[in-house]
Amino acid sequence: MSAPIFMTAFTATSALGAGLDATLEALQSGRSGLRANDFAAAPVDTWIGRVDGIEQESLPDELADYTCRNNQLAHLGLRQDGFLEAVEQARQRYGAQRVGVLLGTSTSGIFETEMAFRVYRAQGAWPDSLHYREQHNLFSLSDFVRRRLGLAGPSHVISTACSSSAKVFASAARLLRQNLCDAVLVGGVDTLALTTLYGFSALELVSARPCRPWDAARNGISIGEAAGFALLERRESDIRLAGYGESSDAYHMSTPHPQGRGAAQAMRAALRRAQLAPEQIDYINLHGTGTPSNDAAEDKAVLEVFGNALPCSSTKGATGHTLGAAGIMEAVISALCLRHGVIPGAGNTEQIDPQLQADFVRASRPAPLRHVLSNSFGFGGNNCSLLFAREGAC
């Protein structure tokens, strides 16, 4: 990419804990944050990646109408790792109108609509507690964050299912290069809801056990929730957004192309933009959801582009599949891996599927990393690969 773009601040909150320290510790130790489903509103027989403390999180009084599980997690996530302060410094440095806010979510505040609908059915009227624009509409997330942080630059929500918060990096990079912004706050938030728990159940895509990406006996995802944010600027830091690639499968609404055609196209596009050869990539954080068809398709795509000698793993056994937040969650994990020299393992995976040929890493190990690729593929065949580089000596 012509003008280099850097991640000058970042944070993530997931089932692994609030903030980077808890996340890094889990990646290094192989700890999983999954638990047997205790989300009382949706008693599906599965495991979930739940974040503690969301229900206690309160929003500022003037933004009370935005209160919903999704924005509460956004607020909890924003408060970690000095991220609020980093954004405030950017706002003062560049001016509010020069800082954009591009976030991804797949379901926004739909949990509150699910609860309100029960009231509607019983009483024939929506409860006063429901604020459609501030809670349910997809833009609610970016709208809340820009108001909370006093930012006034270009803003929207990208909602392309599970690639949502990867694609925000591509859109932000374009805004920066076209000089429409001096900094862009990117990220994403998705939270537990009945729609996703029962919806993925109906598609027979959730596992009754903690998800096991790449395992011979893998049988579905564990749904998780997460909030992650990053500040992108032209100002130098140790983590650079080296490339990105976007593609569409043009195949099926809820099943990936069996040969991973669109996935391979996205990975190649990221390499091309970064002007890197496949051999220069040190690790891939896979989409690796743990469904039979997803992992098989991604394995084929990785083999086609990189061969079978490149270490790769999925961290969804640790965080769960955080859906619209998966892109930012794994972008932050990629940045942590680069910064701290670690290839994270996949602790739940017991026996690697002999049908899959990529070099899948089960146990975390230290490794100097220069370039890391992160894959995010969503429903509708919507794909995005991000490529991050570590600046300076490893």
Binding site: S106, L130, H156, S159, Y198, G199, S247, S248, A250
Partner: protein, 272 residues
């Protein structure tokens, strides 16, 4: 400033069935006549997808297909990227899922769940056309058209490739109509190309886009629409595209100003 070229246009709203039919109306050469929007799935979809696909996808695909058909044959071969801007989803699908979830034993239809994602139209579109470039689906509530135009224009300028911008929202059904009273269907599509592209016969106009300070402009709906329909039209955020399309119907150096989250997206339309 971002400069992009418009090669072709798709349009569907009450009384406006496509760009050919709409131009004399937008130029006030013939009077506007209200007519219901047909809800048929576009022929570009295969029968299986035509059965499954929902109102938002039918509308978005119809206008996207119009724009692609009206463009130069090279446009399809050049594989445009796609931006789908829509404030809201399909209220009927959400209502059906909410109803299922409110049962004692929730039982969500798998097809409905797959259709509930905001990028369902983009998924159906890529399946129908075989287009494999990236598709970006976004919302900025009432300002979704301005956000989509900025996203598409930055893709064209930065990636130096064509981009098909589709903006659409469908009318809402009860009970969600109480929460978001969108009263009509409205969709528009613009096939945008970079300056560097070879001049095609299809090229309609040049857009110079500037993001700047807010200039509070009165929301006057284009004069071709009779007053009794204005309230229904403005209930749908996608009609913001009609200001630009009205200027495109007679490109003579007009400037269209679009509200964008407290700033103004100024679009100068010139003939080329």
């Amino acid at each position: 400033m971002l400069s992009v070229y418009v090669d072709s246009i798709g349009l569907l709203a009450p009384g406006l069935s496509d760009w050919e039919q709409a131009q004399p109306v937008l130029r006030r050469e013939v009077p506007y006549v209200w007519d219901a929007v047909p809800s048929a799935a576009p022929a570009i979809l295969a029968p299986a997808e035509r059965r499954r696909c929902i109102a938002t996808a039918r509308l978005a695909l119809t206008v996207a297909h119009q724009a692609l058909q009206a463009g130069a044959p090279a446009d399809l071969a050049a594989q445009p990227a796609c931006v789908f801007a829509s404030s809201d989803g399909d209220s009927q699908v959400i209502a059906q899922i909410m109803e299922s979830l409110a049962q004692d034993t929730p039982d969500v239809s798998p097809i409905r769940f797959a259709n509930s994602v905001h990028n369902a139209p983009a998924g159906y579109w890529s399946i129908a056309t075989g287009l494999m470039q990236g598709a970006t689906c976004l919302s900025a509530y009432d300002d979704s058209f301005a956000a989509g135009l900025l996203e598409a224009a930055t893709q064209v300028a930065d990636e130096d490739m064509a981009c098909l911008l589709t903006v659409s929202d469908v009318c809402f059904q009860p009970p969600f109509f109480d929460l978001r009273p969108i009263a009509i269907d409205c969709g528009a599509a613009l096939l945008l190309r970079p300056e560097s592209s070879t001049r095609s016969l299809a090229r309609l106009a040049r857009l110079d886009i500037v993001l700047g300070e807010s200039r509070p402009a009165p929301h006057v709906f284009p004069a071709w629409l009779p007053a009794q329909y204005v309230e229904k039209f403005v209930s749908n955020p996608a009609v913001r595209a009609l200001s630009l399309l009205t200027a495109l119907a007679a490109p003579a150096g007009q400037i269209v100003e679009l509200d964008y989250l407290g700033q103004t997206l100024s679009v100068r339309v010139s003939a080329c």
